[in-house]
């Protein structure tokens, strides 16, 4: 109890390993988990009313 490998793979996927950069299975699973999470975290757009309100408050 793998945890050390997951930690390294995680840092690799975050581009945080120094040039440090069955194991292949762990890498592909961590990658697909990451993509799964990202696919669910949708980007959202602020309303034009919010942008206008901010600009108005900055002006006055």
């Amino acid at each position: 109890d793998y945890q050390e490998l997951v930690r390294k793979v995680t840092m690799y996927l975050d581009n945080e390993l120094s040039e440090a950069e069955a194991y292949l299975k762990v890498l592909s699973q961590e990658k697909s988990f990451r993509e799964f999470i990202k696919s669910k975290l949708h980007r959202r757009k602020p309303s034009p009313a919010l942008i206008k309100s901010i600009k108005d408050k900055i002006k006055t």
Binding site: F33, K40, L41, R44, P46, L50, I58
Partner: protein, 200 residues
């Protein structure tokens, strides 16, 4: 009455330019972050507005051409944490405006359609297990996941935004992802993602 000198005018023009060119383009990312922190459009709007007003108030502390995005995210994160602490300490309050609006709406013939629609949206939101799982993470863990996985900030940038050492960022991310995995395992499998991880 304050007399605008040439010097004042110049710095105001410079600040307005920084605001337009460097700060406003970050609004989509800030709104996305605020929404995923609060899961409430009104709260997200308030947070983003507060962030921009604070950023403008302290704009002279910002060094032009540096990392505006990280600077704004830090302001938003602090505003959220302050609100979060206030809310968790304050007793549950009933908003006067909400009561007034409620009674006004009660006389509205479209009221039942309106609540049905809201109920439908609520159900659809509750059905999203990932949203629930992320929302269930302790706030410190939720913040690092959002900063890393949605915004792609580096560990170093995250450490500056949330004021903790890089090692803490790393361990929070690791723990946050493990918590999410635990909560989402069943859901992911039901969607065809299989957990074939082996520790042998």
């Amino acid at each position: 009455m304050m007399v605008m000198t040439q010097e004042n005018l110049t710095s105001k023009e410079r600040f307005d330019k920084i605001f337009e060119v460097e700060f406003l383009p970050q609004i989509d990312a800030l709104y996305t972050f605020a929404y995923h922190l609060t899961y409430n459009e009104d709260d997200a709007n308030d947070l983003v507005q507060e962030t921009y007003l604070k950023a403008y108030r302290f704009i002279e502390k910002y060094i032009e051409g540096t990392n505006a995005k990280a600077w704004l995210f830090k302001i938003l994160k602090n505003a959220f944490i302050n609100q979060y602490r206030k809310k968790s300490k304050a007793p549950t309050k009933v908003d006067y405006e909400e009561i007034i609006n409620f009674h006004d709406e009660e006389n509205d013939t479209n009221y039942s359609t309106h609540t049905d629609l809201r109920e439908e949206m609520f159900q659809s939101m509750m059905g999203d297990e990932v949203t629930n799982a992320i929302n269930a993470l302790p706030v410190d863990f939720r913040v690092v996941i959002l900063l890393c996985d949605i915004e792609g900030f580096t560990y170093e940038e995250i450490s500056k935004i949330i004021d903790v050492p890089i090692g803490t960022v790393r361990s929070r991310l690791h723990r946050a992802r493990n918590m999410l995995k635990g909560q989402l395992k069943t859901y992911a499998e039901s969607l065809g993602f299989k957990d074939k991880r082996s520790k042998d």
